[in-house]
Structures are given as C-alpha cells and as structure tokens.
C-alpha cells in the first residue's frame, strides 16, 4: 500500500531501471489510490542545528543545509538557539497576517469559481513563509516574490483592496488589467513586479542587491523561487553572481513538495536538499521548517543581518507543503492522494502558531475562532468594495486604450498609429 520513496519501483544504484530500461525516472512515494504514509520523513525535534554567527564563513553552514531549523515544537513550545523570542504583539501580528492571507485566498478562490476573475493562486499552508519572512526584513528591503508570497504584501500593510482589484482587472487595478491575477507589483511596499516566467527574477534580485551595495545603501534584496523552478538557469545565475559579488541578498527556495503535478524529486534529483545546492557556490545555507513561522523569522533575520553587514548571500530552503491545487486551473487529486496534505507530518503553520500562543496563555480556541470570523468578514467587506469597481467579465472593464500605454516611456510613432487604428476600427 503505502510506499516509501524508492522502495519498489525505483531500483537501487547500479540495478536496472523501470520498464526494463536502464533509464531511471524518479517517482513520488504516493499516487492517487495510495495511502500516504510519511513515517519515513524524519521530523527533527532535538537536533535543531546551532545558530552560528551571521558573519561566519559559508562552509560553517554546510550542515544547516541538510538539517532543519525548527523553533516551534508540536506541543506549542518554542525552543532552541534560533528562538527569536518575539513579543506577544509580534506573534499576534504574525497570526493575524497569516489568517488574513488565508481568508483572502479562500474568498478569491471562490470568486474565481463564480467567474469574477480569470484565475487565482492560493498559498494555503505556506503563509508562514511569506509572513514570517516579511516580518524579519525591513519594509524597504526589496522582495522578488513568486505568486505564492501574497503574505508579504499583507504583512507590509499593502491595500488588500488594490490587490483584489488587480485580480479582478477592474478600474481599481493599479496594473490596468495588463497582468493576470496575482502577478502584483507594489514598489512602494518593496514588492517587485511578479513575472509569469518562472525563475527570471532570481538573478534580477541579485542585480538589485548589487546596486544596493554599489550605492552603499543599507537595503537588501530577497528573492523567491518554488523548488520546481530551481531547475531554471536563472537559479544558477543567481547563486553564482550572488557568490562572486557577495551580493547583499537572500535567495529563498520554497519547497512545497509540488510543482504543479511534479513532486520535488524531479527538480531535486539525488540531491539531499535544495539548500544544499548553495554549498558548492560558497553561499551560506539554511534549511528551515517552513510551517514554523518562528523558524522562518529567525532564519530570515540571520540571513538579513549577514547580507546587510556585508557577509554576502544566504540560500534558505523553506520546507513546507502546498495544501491545495497549484492554481484554480489544477486538480491535485489527479496526481496525488486526496488526503496527502493531511498526512504531511509538519502540520499547518497557522495551527502551530495558534498552539504556541495558547501555550503562552494568551490565546484560546474561542479567540481564535473569533479572529477567523473577523478576518473572513473583513475580507468579505473589502472584496465587496473591490468588486464594486468591476470585474473581468462585468461591465466596468478596464479602459482598453491602456493596452497601448507603458510599452515605452514615450510611445513611438508606430504605436500611436496602431492606437489610432484601434480607435477608428473598433471603438
């Protein structure tokens, strides 16, 4: 029934491969119909690696790439070297931002199902990564996120209404409908314009960081990729250039186990972790329990301090799990067991922080439910005010002429001509 990875289908090194061909193709441990059983995944409890000096030599963190930094134990306790000892206010902000993120995702997903927008992507289960990371940075540090770090915007206090208007491509959309939903751009919140092309922003973030260093500014850059997109050349460029020029940046790999339908082993191959990719480049490397917001916060703080003080870049792998489908276009039950996400042994980041707050004596189930309810209501209200400005299929569509704008600073003659043609022929 439940198969441990590589147990039956995959031959051992030196044995012959699947289908009587020697070509080895890795497969995930469980497929639809299997009963997921992650007992082979070790959940480190005591062996949290030590916290070295943030200006240590890169090789002193080589081991961290193979371990897992954790602060929150499953019983709610926060322990170990990496415990950031956040104030209760900070903890409450973390919880609230994660819950707002989840509530927004929920709402937007449903609204997409109702045809209000073309597409949506949730970050369910990964809220600790974005929120915890954002809290540990300065708001002026530039992040280069993927489509699953909306929590950064929420943590930094961006207008949720504007975010929703972007998804709705309506008259309130700051991007004038040019981009598909969730590809936000919020320079004022240190949130780089998200590209639909995976990986490309990694090396751009390194360039941004190099510019910070060049200008003797204090800022750093923090770039994100999913584990799947680490296979793009840009990931390699980023690690290499960050190392060569000691760019003040953080390179984050969010390993949520899945890249659409491909499990992480397709990108990983026989490597032991994604953090370990950085070792050979001479980068500092940390691997962190991405469902433990205190660990994410602590690792980010460490890496940010290292970068800001001239110590160079850190590669952080956030080990987490994509609880839902890849996007509204996806149905994960086609390629993994329905209950895979429940079997995943690292729990849910919100539940884990909740338990911690309860263990601190400042929180209980009722308060939690009330907060969940108020998040949901707030999101509902914001959504209503956003949708009042239109939606993709509705009447109050963005102005079509905006399509000709911002191709260049000054529209060249041929674009003006096309704009006139558009007006004559279609308007």
């Amino acid at each position: 029934m439940a198969k441990a990875p590589h147990s039956t289908d995959t031959p051992k090194r030196g044995q012959s491969g699947s289908n009587r061909s020697r070509l080895h193709v890795p497969e995930p441990p469980f497929r639809p119909g299997d009963t997921p059983d992650y007992s082979h995944v070790s959940v480190p409890v005591k062996h949290t690696p030590v916290r070295p000096d943030p200006l240590c030599e890169p090789h002193e963190t080589a081991d961290h790439a193979l371990k897992l930094i954790r602060v929150l134990r499953f019983n709610g306790e926060a322990v170990g070297d990496w415990n950031p000892n956040l104030s209760n206010d900070m903890l409450m902000k973390a919880l609230t931002d994660m819950m707002m993120t989840r509530a927004m995702d929920e709402r937007m997903f449903n609204m997409q199902r109702q045809g209000k927008m073309s597409f949506y992507m949730k970050s369910t289960g990964e809220e600790a990564v974005s929120v915890g990371h954002a809290m540990a940075l300065k708001n002026t540090d530039m992040t280069f996120p993927t489509y699953r770090q909306q929590g950064i915007l929420i943590s930094r206090g961006a207008s949720i209404k504007e975010m929703m208007c972007q998804c709705l491509s309506n008259s309130g959309d700051p991007l004038d409908g040019k981009s598909i939903p969730v590809l936000y751009s919020f320079k004022k919140h240190g949130f780089f314009s998200i590209s639909g092309n995976l990986g490309t922003q990694l090396i751009q973030g390194v360039g941004w960081a190099m510019a910070c260093a060049y200008k003797n500014e204090d800022g750093i850059a923090s770039v994100f990729t999913g584990e799947g997109a680490t296979a793009e050349g840009d990931f390699h460029y980023a690690l290499n250039f960050a190392s060569t020029y000691r760019a003040p940046c953080i390179i984050n790999v969010v390993n949520n186990q899945w890249a659409i339908s491909s499990y992480q082993g397709i990108a990983m191959g026989e490597g032991e972790s994604f953090a370990a990719r950085g070792t050979g480049y001479g980068l500092a490397t940390l691997r962190v329990d991405g469902n433990d917001i205190l660990a994410v916060y602590a690792a980010t703080k460490w890496a940010a301090e290292r970068a800001r003080k001239g110590g160079g870049a850190t590669l952080i792998e956030h080990f987490t799990y994509r609880q839902e489908g890849h996007s509204t276009s996806d149905d994960p039950s086609k390629y993994r067991p329905k209950d895979d996400s429940e079997a995943w042994p690292f729990g849910d980041p919100i539940a884990r922080l909740k338990k911690h707050l309860i263990s601190l004596g400042v929180w209980d189930d009722d308060k939690h439910d009330a907060l969940a309810k108020s998040c949901k209501e707030e999101i509902r209200d914001i959504y209503k005010s956003a949708e009042a400005m239109g939606n993709l299929s509705g009447a109050t569509h963005v102005n079509d002429y905006t399509m000709f704008e911002q191709v260049y600073e000054h529209p060249p003659e041929h674009l003006e001509r096309q704009r006139r043609m558009f007006s004559e022929e279609l308007d």
Binding site: N19, K178, L198, S262, I266, D400, L426
Partner: protein, 343 residues
Amino acid sequence: MAEPETKNMTMIEAIRDAMDVTMSQNSDVLVFGEDVGYFGGVFRCTAGLQEKHGLHRCFDTPISEGGIVGIAIGMAANGLRPVAEIQFADYIYPAYDQIASEAARLRYRSNGDFTCPLTIRTPVGGGIYGGTTHSQSPEALFTHIAGLKTVIPSNPYDAKGMLIEAIEDNDPVLFLEPKRLYNGPFNGDPHAPAKSWKGHPLGEVPTGHYGIELGKARKITEGDDVTILTYGTMVWVAEATAAKVGISADILDLRSLLPLDLDAIVESVKKTGRCLIMHEATRTSGFGAELSALVTEHCFYHLEAPIERVTGWDTPYPHAQEWAYFPGQKRVANALKRIMKDV
C-alpha cells in the same frame, strides 16, 4: 483500397494519437516535458501515454526548458526521436539558444556527421485570458532560423498528420499548437457559444498512421477576390469573416511556415491580385512581414491593392484587454473592405 478508419477527435486527442501511434510503431520515440508524465500535461495532450508506454518513454522533467531541449538534442543525435513539450510557447525562450544555436545548426556545423531529429511541441496564441505570459505567438522568432522547421496546424486532421510527419522528419521541427483550437474551431467571436470538433469534417481523424508533408498549404476556401494568407487560430477567423463580409476569398492555411508553400501563395495571389495577411503575433517583424515581402517579390505585377496585415498590436498581450488586442473579425472585415475598395 478500403477507406481508413476514422474517429472524431479534438485537436488534443489528435495530437495525443499522433504520439501514441508513433510510440507504438517505433521505440525510438520518447515524450517528455513539464507535467507530461503521470498527469498527462496541463492541456492533457499526453494523457495516458505514460500508463500505456511506460515511465521511461513518457516522463516529467525539471522546469528547465533549456534542459528539456538540451537532452532532446543529445538523444536525437544518439538515434532517438524525442518529442519535447514546452508547456507554453511563452516559456520557450530559456531554450532559445539550444534551439537556434544547437538543434538547428548541428547538422550544418558537423557537415552531416551528427543530425537532430527532434520535435518540440508547444501551445501558442491567445483567447484564454492568459495575459502576457500564456498567449504569445513567437513563430517569427523561429522562421528566421535556418535549419529549423516551424509548422502550425489549425485542425485535428492536420495536427495528427503533421505531428507524425514532424516526429519522423530527420531535422528539428517546432510544432506550434494554437491552444484556442484545442477543443473546437474559434471564429474570433468570444461571445459566440463555444464550438467543438464534434461533427466537423476536420475533426474526423484516421485512427492509424498517416503523414502530411511539411511545406504544403491547405486551401480552405476557393475564391477570386482576394487571397488570405494565415495559419493557426486565424484561419477560422478568416473563414468566418470572409463569409460574413460576403467576399470570395482564396484562404490559404499555410500550415508550414518554414518551409513555406510559396507556389501555392504565388498562384493564388496572381489569380486574385489582392492579399490579406493575418496573424495573432505582434505586427513588427512578425511572420506576416516575410509573407508580404515574398508576395511583393513574386507577384508585384499582379497586385491591384496594397497588401494588408491584420495582426496583434505591437504591445505585450494584455490580460483584460484580450479582445481589444486579438485581431478579430471587425479588424479583418475592415481590412478586407479597404483592400476591395477600388474594385
């Protein structure tokens, strides 16, 4: 000879069937790409192939378009016939170097010592609210590359025959799939009810092996007033618009852009004396430019009106303004009227 057995297929099914048929006949054919294995591809074009032919013949790759084409070149040079999928043509650029510098030139630079019989399949075109990064039509970036073939079917029948031909070709072929046609013809009107391939004669696809020579255009309608040169989704927009405008158009579905069926083009334009070119890609340096140049070069003394191009605007493909960007029936009709105005 008995008529070959046929089956009604969508374009997705026809494409899948082309791979299935060649994989069944020839163990040198492998299929791979992002999410193509167990899952069967985000557009389902490879669904079932892994189960039927085995994990080692249809498998997932890392998200690395350059790597995908790179291994395909090595496999092709080593005697296989790889069929690589690029999930969207918008994501083909990381593989541009491997395609243009390597796949297309391996035969030349080695003077035939090594060859590269590979096929790259990738969906192109808009119409699904995919925005700047799920709607592009980059064919012109490939028709400039000597050593490569670039083809684009517009219906299930052609799709299967051309894909089989591409896989069996001894040179690299870029096989572009107009995603808006996957499930049915599309006449350019987003408000009209969606059509399916069911009942359409071009959805009747032989179940066995057949090839369609790459480099031959298909005449869609015979006409005397004007020649329309187009391919992919726009073929259906052309046909619908010409019918609506009530013009007698010689519509050529080019199918293969490189090599190109220049004879068919010249013959038609010499007959009609007028020419409209249509594509979804941005206008400047689009493939329509080459078509226009060729028509001028070969039919100059027969032309009675300026050649017109109806194309995407010279902007990225916007999301919400999709139907303002898409070169739809209105713009085609206007162009036809301009072309015909001094008849």
